[in-house]
Amino acid sequence: MRTLEGQGVTKYFGGLAAVSNVDFHVDRGEIVGLIGPNGAGKTTLFNLTSGALPLSSGEITFKGQKIRGLKPHRVCKMGVSRTFQETKVFGNMPVLQNVLVGAFFGSPNRISAADAAREASQALEFVGLSAMAGNSIQDLTLVSQKRVEVARALATRPELLLLDELMAGLNPAEVSEAMELVAKIRDTGITIFIVEHVMKAIMGICERIMVLHHGEKIAEGTPQEIASNKTVIEIYLGEETHAGS
């Protein structure tokens, strides 16, 4: 079953087509990777999916329901949750309260304070941060803050989770931990759409990968197919020599 589907998805910022006529889909239970050089339009595609930005044209559906025109809080209640590339935690509350917000407001039905509290501690435990529950969020490292974002997203009880560069800035050991976490989330039955620059991670956990470049989808396939795709290699090699200079 199609959990998420996009047809002709297009977003203009002024004259710039950040996302241009992209067709894509994510099936139930999959982990789908979204890669591409800086400025390719990956985050923009997430923003269109979560309702943060309106589409210029095209349509995105979640379980057959149109997302176009819906505000982020509606999309969240439908079952789509996300983390942010630039961490957006609630700096004015302790760690547990951050997650509690997701638990309280994320589900489509009104939930009791006791249930929300239980949900929040479970989510925090799931990402391995129970010990930090009472800490001020600003005392946590950026890595841990990203994990809190994951817990907060999980507390909304999503069916689809959008992860935007969860692993940026992690050391190799932390990357494997993060990969385990993603696999563990999928095992609970949550479908995952993930943007990542760490190739080893994306190749290791994704069943399918899409590649964006200048807002256009230039390739799609299994990790092996993508790894041997000429255009993709050119783009990434080009970027590396560029970055290396």
Binding site: S50, A52, K71, P72, H73, C76, K77, S81, R82, F84, K88, V89, F90, G91, N92, M93, Q97, N98, L100, V101, G102, F104, F105, G106, S107, A113, R152, T156
Partner: protein, 330 residues
């Protein structure tokens, strides 16, 4: 020893006890305080309502509202126009409702604006509505000399304001602890993230901004007779927007009681020192405020946990010393 234990184990009981004492003091005040102090206390309580209601919305969300004076002024003018036609309690309720209706409209239009734009707009709004009401009052209704209200019984006014303070504090206490309090706080923490966690931020902001204005309007309606001679330009004095903010910052917004403490300390200093020192007062107050912001980022209320930490250490040491002594004796 027992007293120390009482302090550490029965904190809630002590809080309720001291609250009761304060309430008893305030309610019996007209029996022994003279008129000057009764008026001063009424003013302080009025500022308490403004500071606490302001902090509930603006302190939590970070949306700096400068519209407090507008809502307060609507309350004042409600009494000015309706005095004598309806029971005072009804007028107070009308004042609160009119202010909140206004807040609802402003909220719908302006709460989409971020940060400083919202602050500036709400500031301009006070000026705008003040002038509009002034124009209507003088040119259309021909109340050229303003409104002279019947001088009130200061004791009665104090009780009314005290009643409003209690209602305001109880309501806001529960709002802060409720899911709406959490929603407001998350908007202040990161509005974009709050939206993505399922919060209808626009609706939350408008509703709670509207609720905060009820108390501000009611405070204006109750306080109006104390002004005695009312003109729109006095009723909508922009200082009523700034003072509560200073009080809330001064007292500390992290704690529920911070703005209350701020209103009392500042309100008293304001009245007591202004008469004697006049221009030096604002200077001195400015210096104190800067010191508070620099060294007590959580306001006066931030002193309490700090002192508790220090005091706790001292008590623990003292206990250990005592125990060691006992051991030595055996």
């Amino acid at each position: 020893m027992d007293i120390i234990r009482l302090f550490t184990t029965h904190r809630k009981l002590l809080a309720v006890g001291s609250l009761l004492l304060i309430l008893i003091f305030l309610t019996t005040f007209p029996l022994y305080g003279n008129d000057y102090y009764i008026r001063l206390l009424t003013t302080i309580l009025m500022y308490t309502v403004l500071a606490v209601s302001w902090a509930m919305f603006s302190g939590a969300t970070g949306y700096m509202s400068l519209a407090t004076a507008a809502f307060f002024g609507v309350g004042v003018m409600t009494t000015a126009f309706l005095e004598g036609t309806l029971p005072f309690l009804v007028i107070i309720v009308i004042g609160g409702l009119l202010a909140s209706a206004l807040a609802f409209l402003i909220g719908l239009v302006t709460l989409r604006l971020r940060g400083v734009y919202f602050a500036i707009f709400s500031f301009g709004f006070v000026m705008f509505i003040g002038e509009i009401v002034f124009y209507i009052d003088t040119h259309i209704l021909h109340n050229i000399w303003g409104h002279n209200l019947t001088p009130p019984d200061p004791g009665v006014l104090l009780y009314m304001m005290l009643g409003l303070v209690v209602v305001t504090l109880v309501t806001i206490y529960f709002i802060r602890r409720s899911r709406y309090g959490l929603a407001l706080l998350s908007i202040g923490g990161n509005e974009e993230a709050a939206k993505h966690m399922g919060i209808n931020t626009t609706r939350t902001k408008v509703i709670l901004f509207t609720i905060s204005a009820v108390f501000m309007g009611a405070a204006g309606a109750i306080f109006a007779p104390a002004i005695i001679h009312i003109q729109a330009r006095i009723a909508f004095n922009i200082f009523n927007s700034f003072l509560p903010i200073l009080m809330a910052i001064f007292g500390g917004m992290g704690q529920f009681y911070g703005p209350v403490v701020g209103a009392f300390v500042f309100g008293y200093l304001d009245a007591a020192l202004k008469v004697e020192f006049q221009q030096y007062f604002m200077l001195g107050f400015g210096i104190i405020l800067i010191l508070v912001i620099l060294f007590l980022p959580n306001g006066l209320a931030g002193l309490v946990p700090m002192l508790q930490g220090k005091l706790g250490g001292v008590i623990a040491k003292w206990r250990k010393g005592g125990e060691a002594e006992q051991h030595a004796n055996t």
